[in-house]
């Protein structure tokens, strides 16, 4: 074999590999960095970055990925609400997403907002959104390429269902658990000091509640406990065991909450998509519950509002 023909063969093999991208394991809610790399040019895959910090996407993102700004694209900026079905539809149409597209989300901070994006997408009918396991952190640590070009895709005509998926808990659902005897587990994913009521919120946070503490009956599982050091999720077995240790085993429905409902969607993703439990995320969370009139709270550290 001459050097030239060897080169040709290598090229042909590479082209063949690129031309037949690996299919995502439909059952898994996660895709690996390797899978994403192989599918960067796959027209049936659309990757979105949802990062907490501004400017992260622009300074380098996974080639071909589009940017979703969580504080403008995925929320209703006037109502305290997530983006409407029409709003998300417009975003997806512009991004060229069709019914056959595999949507992959990823972001910084251990996929915190990417998981929230997955919850928003799921509510509006895109139920099989996948997260890049490890998010930006893992991608960068692997030395995989980043791009600064902003891609544009031919628009699609995707039509989202009007009916929202039942994965969002409201205050009445939570009160049904606290006072109405509904057999549902509550998982508070904030830090232990917030959970106990020792502090209202982490340093520098503006959105607060009148009282500190947690919803009676909730168990505490800080959200970052679900990820490994390298940013990837812990194994299914480890996650299952960690939650079982605090009495969350999927035998009954679960409601997750935090302070404003975003970090808890990360735990919603773990419990619902990875472990397959029945879970709703309560995005009103502590800022709504702790400010509500006439609802009971649990405040083990004794910092109840009004007590000096």
């Amino acid at each position: 074999m001459t050097k030239f023909s060897r080169l040709l063969t290598t090229a042909a093999v590479s082209v063949a590999l690129v031309a037949t991208p690996a299919l995502a394991d439909d059952a898994s809610p996660l895709v690996t960095a390797e899978w994403v790399q192989e599918n960067i040019s796959n027209p049936n895959v659309r990757i979105f970055e949802v990062s907490v910090d501004t400017g992260v996407y622009e300074r380098g993102h996974i080639p071909g990925a589009l940017n979703l700004s969580w504080h403008t694209d995925l929320v209703d900026t006037v109502r305290r609400d997530i983006v409407s079905s029409e709003g998300l539809e417009a975003i997806l149409q512009q991004a060229g997403v069709t019914e056959d597209t595999t949507v992959v989300l990823y972001g910084d901070n251990n996929n915190w907002f990417a998981a929230w994006g997955a919850w928003v997408f799921d509510i509006h009918g895109i139920h099989d959104v996948k997260l890049l396991d490890g998010g930006r952190k893992y991608w960068e640590a692997q030395g995989l390429p980043l791009d600064t070009a902003t891609p544009e895709y031919a628009a699609s005509t995707i039509d989202l269902p009007e009916e929202a998926a039942p994965i969002r808990a409201r205050l009445v659902d939570v009160l049904e658990v606290v006072e109405g005897g509904a057999d549902v587990s509550l998982v508070d994913i904030r830090g232990p000091k917030e959970f106990s009521g020792e502090i209202f919120a982490p340093e520098g946070v503006q959105e607060l509640s009148v009282r500190a503490g947690h919803i009676p009956g909730a168990v505490n599982f800080p959200w970052s406990g679900a990820v490994q050091e390298d940013g990837r999720f812990k194994s299914t077995e480890d996650l299952k065991a960690a939650f079982a240790a605090i009495g969350i085993d999927g035998s009954k429905p679960i409601i997750t909450y935090c302070r404003i409902g975003e970090r808890s969607s990360h735990t919603w993703f773990v419990l619902s998509r990875i472990l397959g439990y029945e879970v709703k995320n309560y995005d009103g969370s502590w800022t709504e519950y702790g400010n509500s009139v006439g609802v009971p709270i649990d405040n083990p550290s004794g910092t109840v509002w009004g007590r000096i």
Partner: protein, 394 residues
């Protein structure tokens, strides 16, 4: 030229520390890479500032008092090159310049009476202390006896700025507006206007200046090349171009240039811990600017950038034999502290300084940068005028 051991020992130590810092940060994982890059950019910035004497006040003074335009031309070139660089990046990141969505992290700050007052006070602080903050950082390496006190003063000035922030914000800043030129004229129109304004200022400066006789340039040899690089002041066009390039690269990779964020966050952290600074500063964390960053970690991009400025300038200053401290006088301490407090208060209230608001702002097409420029100059001229009236030498 004196040949003391410190002339080569200090640069050697500075270079060793900077290289060690870069290597250890760069090998500490993904999250530390921007820190390593900030250190490199700061070092480059410090070297350019020191080698070209890129000091806003000194250059302004050269123009007004000595009628030399070189330094001001360097600043205008830096603004022009950076404006071209920023516009190129904006076009890629944000194809449509709409006001609803500003380019991420660019210093496009609010325009208000507060900004005008703060810029004027900053200018007064410059005139009293003899430099702006970025120049004080590099002038440490030249043995300036005022600079250390000015930086200490600025730290306290920041604290006072945090104390007065809420009332000023409620009085004025809430009615402020964001003036982003590309939003009104598009990228091409905005850049054209910026370049025309800078060109007009350059023409004005050159018309006002007296022609300087330049020495004939020696033939380029290794020896003259080394002399040009390490011992002679770098030419205005070159230093301005380099500052513009560093600005652009910093914005592309890390954040817009600024030198006050770290000092401000240290002051805020200390003030909050001491219960002096209000724990809640209205709107501050939602506004765009250099001085609005909350300190979270020991090492920050801005902190390393400033350390780079100091390290880089120590490297070049000692080689060039420009470390020339003079005997400290009481008036130096007073000028440093008083000027520094005004610099700190001004830059906190304006959300940045000559680098964070003026340089990064004008380059980004922000009206706030121009407002800062105008009122800073007014503050300087006002102070010089009063100093003449009261026969105080500054």
């Amino acid at each position: 030229m004196t040949l003391s051991p410190s002339r080569y020992l200090v640069p050697l130590i500075a270079a060793t520390v900077l290289i060690w810092g870069f290597v250890s940060l760069n090998s500490a994982g993904v999250e530390s890479r921007p820190l390593a890059l900030s250190l490199v950019l700061g070092t480059a910035f410090g070297i350019v500032l020191q080698r070209s004497r890129f000091c806003f006040l000194c250059n302004f003074r050269d123009l007004i008092e000595k009628r030399q335009a070189g330094g001001i031309i360097a600043i205008l070139v830096a603004l022009a090159v950076g404006a071209i660089g920023y516009t190129t990046i904006f076009g890629a990141w944000l194809p449509t310049p709409a006001l609803e969505r500003l380019p991420p992290t660019a210093h496009i700050g609010p325009v208000s009476i507060t900004l005008a007052i703060a810029s004027t006070v900053f200018g007064i602080g410059m005139a009293i202390s003899g430099s702006c903050l970025s120049a004080h950082f590099y002038r440490l390496s030249e043995g300036s006896v005022i600079s250390p006190f000015a930086i200490i003063g600025a730290f306290f000035g920041f604290g006072i700025g945090f104390l007065t922030w809420n009332s000023l914000f409620l009085a004025v800043t809430t009615n402020a507006f964001i003036g982003w030129i590309p939003h009104h004229l598009g990228y091409a129109g905005g850049l054209t206007l910026t370049l025309v304004l800078l060109g007009a200022l350059a023409i004005g400066a050159l018309l006002w200046a007296k022609p300087q006789a330049t020495e004939a340039e020696a033939a380029l040899t290794l020896e003259t090349g080394v002399r040009n690089l390490f011992f002679k002041r770098w030419p205005a066009i070159i230093s301005g171009t380099l500052v513009g390039i560093i600005s652009t690269l910093a914005y592309l990779r890390v954040a817009p240039l600024g030198v006050t964020a770290e000092l401000g966050s240290l002051a805020r952290t200390a003030g909050t811990a001491g219960g002096i600074v209000p724990s809640s500063l209205f709107g501050l964390d939602t506004l765009r600017g250099c001085a609005t960053i909350i300190k979270e970690t020991l090492l920050s991009n801005n902190g390393l950038f400033v350390l780079g400025i100091i390290g880089g300038s120590f490297f070049t200053s000692f080689i060039a034999g420009q470390f020339k401290p003079r005997r400290l006088k009481g008036s130096d301490v007073a000028r440093g502290l008083v000027g520094g407090v005004l610099l700190g208060w001004g830059s906190m209230t304006a959300l940045g300084c000559t680098v964070g608001v003026l340089l990064s702002g004008i380059q980004a097409g922000s009206l706030s940068g121009w407002v800062f420029l105008v009122f800073m100059c007014l503050g300087i001229l006002l102070t010089w005028r009063l100093a003449r009236v009261f026969r105080i030498s500054l």
